[in-house]
Symmetry: C2
DNA sequence: TTATAATATGAGTCAATGCTCATATGTCAC
DNA sequence: GTGACATATGAGCATTGACTCATATTATAA
């Protein structure tokens, strides 16, 4: 296999990995509907503050989400339109279009 | 979050997980181009026979691929058109459309 | 039947990863 | 300043997952 193709496939794997965890995918599904602070996300997912924050950190490092500070609160929202599109396509494929 | 939605998201996670391993994704990328036996796949990926076979087993259990026996050889091919479509979309998103 | 080739599989190992727990940091109100 | 709240983060732990190694199975050929 050509080196070029290998690298492209690695990038593709990395993209799909973003979506391959239940907590992360629920965060993404929620952020598609708008901007939310950590508490709201954590409450909505019924996941601990810490676990939520760790995943948000990861999504931020991966340039999937961006943040906006407002006092004590930190609001998260989707950064990349690819994420929303791929999520919706994957969702519809998984649930029989 | 509604139970229904939770289940749908779990299904979506499971779908994305199929694509979230380098070896598996290369197998899928290859099988998009046709039908191949284990040896051919293993050679092409430069991955051991055993590792290849384990991943093929997994893909088979997940109904991603089907097999056809011809003497000693077992030919694998894609079973589900969703897989090809989602792979190609993910690939193009990952590599900047 | 025996040998050889192709594939499958079980056990064990190791690395990756997502969690919890405790604590740190940051911001506001008093 | 102190206290209360929101968020972040590091360490440790448990689980998952992909690999290797050895061996089993299956099929053909001699």
């Amino acid at each position: 296999m050509a080196k070029r193709k290998q690298k492209d496939i690695k990038l593709t794997v990395d993209l799909f990995k973003i979506f391959s965890d239940y907590t992360r995918l629920r965060i993404i599904a929620l952020l598609i509907t708008g901007e939310f602070c950590v508490q709201e996300i954590s409450d909505h997912l019924k996941t601990s503050q810490s676990a939520t924050s760790h995943q948000l950190r990861m999504l931020r490092d991966l340039n999937v989400v961006k943040t906006r500070k407002e006092g004590k609160l930190v609001y998260y929202s989707l950064l990349d339109h690819h994420i929303k599109e791929l999520y919706l396509i994957g969702y519809s494929h998984a649930n029989e279009c």
